[in-house]
């Protein structure tokens, strides 16, 4: 009897995982109609969506960051808004503002007009160009999924995904994101330059009459269901332990810090990094049709989840050491079992 119930549960789980895989595959396919290559970035963005968190995309201009986010928004039938961050952008411009509404019946009343932040998917384009004041306006929305204006708190409807982009080259007149805000991004995705083949495809698609049409393949409820499924995935103790040790290894204070950590790291990743790694690994396992993540999954998502959470010291900055290099050393030297 018990076996039967287990079997039915198992079949249900298997089915859910199959559905998950199918939906993700469909979503990838739709995004792929517009976005050429960038598999890791696409998967990262999808993972952020399914984890119910946010993504920071970094890359030089013209690599399709904005296009990717817009395409994703089209493919998932969710509200989408884009905010172009500029130095003169004010918090009210993104949160919304209270205006006097004159109506025949009620007379003049103050009414809160929601800003673009209240969409399901928010594209914060060139987020580092806004002032810290405006940037910090995103903080509460990103973490709490709600916005407080005056005495009123407005909840943002789930799913909520902020995707910020920033340009690593043009640093003049920019305001680098504070650590607290960076920590709120689930992944930091590096948008790389396309390959030769990919460039051919890009040119083919964008310089002809061909116009890709993206259909919405996922409903809001489906996304919420997928988010729930992700959290049901179990993590084995040794895998979790590996993630914990990996996170600890990013800290100088821990006894056996690795060479690069010892020399170049000022502050290691926060526990949010650990959460990100584990959720990311679960999503990876589901992408792959597995029921539990392995250490390899942790290793594959670790750079995405930790690179923006590790702060380098002056020496590291001066020597041009990247956090990716630090993470790479940790991954290569950290034993899988202890």
């Amino acid at each position: 009897m018990k076996d039967e119930s287990i079997m039915s549960e198992n079949q249900s789980v298997t089915q859910q995982v199959l559905d998950f895989q199918t939906k993700v595959a469909t979503l990838r396919q739709e995004i792929g109609r517009v976005i050429v290559g960038q598999k890791e970035v696409v998967d990262g963005v999808i993972a952020c969506l399914l984890a119910g968190s946010h993504a920071l995309l970094e890359g030089v201009p013209g690599l399709g960051k904005t296009m990717l986010v817009r395409t994703l928004a089209q493919a998932v039938r969710l509200d989408f808004s884009r905010i172009q961050f500029t130095p003169d952008l004010m918090p009210a411009d993104i949160i919304g503002t209270t205006v006097i509404d004159e109506s025949a019946n009620a007379g003049k009343v103050f009414e809160f007009r929601k800003g673009p932040i209240f969409s399901h998917i928010v594209l914060a384009d060139e987020v580092n160009r806004a002032t810290p004041k405006t940037q910090s306006a995103l903080l509460e929305a990103m973490q709490e999924h709600r916005v407080t204006v005056g005495r009123t708190t407005y909840t943002i409807e789930e799913p909520y995904l902020v995707m910020a982009t920033q340009n690593p080259l043009e640093m003049e007149g920019t305001y680098p994101l504070p650590e607290a805000q960076l920590d709120r991004f689930f992944y930091k995705l590096a948008v790389t330059f396309p390959s030769r083949e990919e460039l051919h495809s890009i040119v083919d698609r964008t310089t002809t009459l061909h116009e890709a049409e993206v259909k919405a393949v996922l409903e809001r409820e489906e996304i919420l269901g997928m988010q729930k499924l992700v959290r049901q995935v179990a993590v084995a103790r040794h895998v979790q332990d590996y993630a914990v040790r990996l996170l600890q290894a990013t800290h100088v204070q821990t006894g056996k810090a690795f060479d690069k950590v010892q020399r170049f790291v000022r502050t290691g990743a926060s526990p949010r990094g650990l959460q990100a790694m584990l959720l990311g690994a679960k999503i990876q396992a589901l992408f792959d049709g597995r029921f539990a993540p392995g250490i390899e999954d942790i290793r594959s998502v670790a750079p995405l989840a930790l690179r923006h959470r590790i702060l380098l010291n002056f020496e590291g900055e001066a020597e041009g050491v990247t956090t990716d290099a630090v993470i790479e050393q940790i991954l290569s030297q950290l034993p899988e079992s202890a």
């Binding site: 076996d3 287990i6 079997m7 549960e9 198992n10 079949q11 249900s12 789980v13 298997t14 995982v17 199959l18 895989q21 049901q232 995935v233 179990a234 084995a236 103790r237 040794h238 895998v239 396992a285 792959d288 049709g289 597995r290 029921f291 539990a292 993540p293 392995g294 250490i295 390899e296 999954d297 034993p335 899988e336 079992s337 202890a338």
Partner: protein, 648 residues
């Protein structure tokens, strides 16, 4: 494809308990292999340490020949290294890289992305705590279980250091089999003492000869040991490895060990034998035995005792009863000699003691002793002392013959009742006698050795007094005795002669104080018999020292010669023919002269000379032993003979 796999996982449900066991077994297998690989890797990585140390240590031991306690530190260091190596290896074996290690290794090799590891981890949880996802994960892993291969996942690894370690190991093995040739130089082994005693080569050789002679014959164990010590001492002196003090110290020790029987005790022993002899002589049957004992001839006494035992045992011609009675009495009396003597001494002692007591009491009563009484007291005390000494000696002698006494007493007891048993006792008595004889023989050997020790001691003493000059002279003498050209002694060339004849014989002569002694045949021809009797005036002018004859004036003893010497004494290449000459009776005691034809080219050895030397020396020793020579001169006589001894 993925869907099919997932569906397959769900179908695998129900088989999980067995399948998960299979997974566990394979994971354990993989883990064990990984641990063994780690063990080998660690052991080989660290093996060069102890192996290298062992190689260096072994080389040191072999080359420096340190097989004694000084190599203890090497062993200690080696042991510590070995223990450290074993500890490191054991740690590598015992260190577990987590329980999931086996599963992870299988996952890696089969590219299962953690399926096996996760499944094993989830399977550890109780069923109630497992979520559907966990169950699904287990089933997913179970499905691939049969395909897992621990041997492929964890192949045996040959440590990188293996060739080096193998070479080192075989090198060490070879080194252990290698034998380094040792050139043992005993002389070099013991460095010369800075204040070492130096003896003339001649003396050293003399003592070496003696020690070699002593060592040749079989001896009792204790005598052998003493001889070995004496030999070692001689070798050490020859090698100049001992100081004068050290030599005396060792001589003392040797003499102490040898001096177990004093002369007095020896005399007491002889007296005890005599006592027994007189008793035994009273019976016809044991007379021969008694006589042998009286002569101190213990060897014959043993034979006689055996004969007596045989006689007692004889059934055909049994002894008659009166004979037996007499024999019994004689045996009893003989066996009780020590007791009787002690009783006699004790009785006399008691008598003297009572006399002393009487005189002492008188003294105590404040009565002055007369001169006669004082003398008497002193006399009594002396007698008491002598008696005490006698008692001690008698006891010691009695101890030496206690075994014999016991056997004689038992033989006497059984003689009348059981002749066989009595004979057995007599035989045992003979054995005791044999032991006594051996002990006697051992004592003689000891005496012999003691004599040599005394000689050496006296030589050293004399050398110490005479100083370096004497040593120089001795060295020269030694060189010449070997046919070398020693520097001429003071007082002229020894052996120089005015004779102008053919190379003739050497005539040994005894020099007199200023006058030549008549040496019959002293100037005779080689084949002359008798020769002319030397005339006093002819033989020499009055010399200042003995031995100075007409021919030349030697400054020392033995450097002169008689007038009749022919030939060149320094070129002794004469004929090799010994001629004995009977000397005429001068009426002044035994005299003989022997002419030795042509001593050897080298030195003055020769068969004839040896014979003459032995004869003279025997006489000299005999004279010395009879105390006819004052003690102070004995050394010179012995030394003289020692120096003129025939050499090889």
């Amino acid at each position: 494809m993925r869907a099919a796999r997932l569906l397959g996982a769900s179908k695998a449900l129900g088989k999980s308990p067995q399948q998960i066991s299979l997974l566990r077994v394979k994971a354990r297998n993989a883990q064990a292999r990984a641990r063994l690989n780690r063990l080998f890797a660690t052991a080989f990585r660290w093996a060069p340490g102890p192996l290298g140390y062992a190689a260096i240590g072994l080389t040191y031991v072999k080359v420096a020949h340190r097989s004694d306690g000084s190599s203890g530190w090497l062993w200690l260091g080696g042991s510590l290294l070995l223990v450290a190596w074993l500890g490191i290896s054991a740690r590598a074996w015992l260190r577990r890289a987590g329980q999931s290690e086996g599963g992870l290794l299988l996952d890696h090799f089969h590219e299962l992305k953690g399926r096996v590891g996760n499944a094993l981890s989830f399977a550890e949880l109780p069923l109630s705590e497992r979520t559907p996802f966990m169950e699904a994960a287990i089933q997913d892993a179970v499905r691939v279980g049969p395909e897992l291969s621990p041997s492929l996942a964890v192949p045996w690894l040959i440590p990188r250091e293996t060739p080096f370690v193998v070479v080192l190991f075989f090198g060490l093995l070879g080194l252990s089999l290698l034998e380094v040739r040792v050139v043992r130089e005993a002389e070099r082994a013991a460095p010369k003492a800075s204040q070492a005693l130096v003896l003339a080569i001649d003396d050293v050789e003399y003592f070496k000869e003696i020690s070699a002679r002593l060592a040749e014959a079989p001896h009792a164990a204790d005598v052998n040991q003493a001889i070995q010590r004496f030999n070692q001492l001689v070798l050490d002196i020859a090698g100049e490895r001992v100081t004068r003090d050290e030599v005396f110290r060792r001589l003392d020790a040797l003499e102490r060990d040898l001096a177990d029987a004093s002369d007095a005790e020896k005399a007491a022993f002889e007296q005890a034998l005599k006592d027994r002899a007189s008793e035994l002589k009273s019976s016809q049957q044991s007379r021969a035995l008694g006589e042998a004992l009286e002569r101190h001839d213990v060897v014959n006494a043993e034979k006689e005792l055996k004969k007596l035992a045989e006689k007692v045992r004889q059934q055909k011609q049994p002894l008659n009863r009166p004979d037996l009675e007499r024999l019994k009495k004689a045996l009893e009396a003989a066996s009780q000699q020590t007791q009787k003597r002690l009783e006699r001494i004790e009785a006399r002692r008691q008598e003297l003691l009572s006399q002393t007591r009487r005189l002492l009491n008188k003294k105590k009563d404040q009565k002055p002793l007369s001169a006669q009484e004082a003398k008497e007291q002193k006399e009594t005390e002396r007698k008491l002392e002598r008696l005490d000494r006698e008692k001690r000696e008698a006891t010691a002698a009695g101890k030496g013959l206690a075994g014999l006494d016991k056997e004689l007493a038992e033989a006497a007891q059984k003689l009348m009742k059981e002749a066989g048993l009595s004979a057995k006792d007599l035989e045992q008595g003979a054995e005791q006698m044999n032991r006594t004889a051996q002990s006697e023989s051992s004592q003689q050997e000891k005496q012999q050795l003691k004599k040599r020790l005394e000689e050496l001691r006296e030589l050293l003493r004399q050398q110490g007094q005479a100083g370096k000059e004497q040593m120089k002279r001795l060295l020269r003498f030694g060189q010449r005795a070997r046919g070398g050209n020693g520097a001429p002694a003071e007082g002229g060339e020894p052996g120089e002669t005015n004779g102008k004849g053919p190379k003739g014989p050497i005539t040994l002569s005894r020099g007199g104080p200023g006058e030549g002694i008549d040496i019959p045949g002293g100037s005779g021809k080689p084949d002359a018999r008798g020769g002319q009797k030397g005339q006093k005036g002819q033989k020499g002018q009055k010399g200042q020292k003995p031995g100075q004859g007409e021919g030349s004036e030697g400054a020392e003893y033995g450097t002169g010669h008689a007038g009749g010497l022919r030939g060149d004494s320094t070129k002794l290449d004469g004929k090799f023919k010994d001629v004995s000459v009977v000397a005429a009776d001068t009426g002044e005691g035994a005299a003989s002269a022997e002419v030795i034809h042509g001593a050897a080219q080298r030195g003055f050895t020769g068969r004839g000379y040896s014979k003459v030397y032995t004869d003279y020396r025997t006489v000299a020793e005999s004279v010395i032993s009879k105390d006819e020579v004052p003690a102070g001169y004995r050394f010179y006589i012995r030394r003289y003979f020692q120096l003129i001894r025939p050499r090889e």
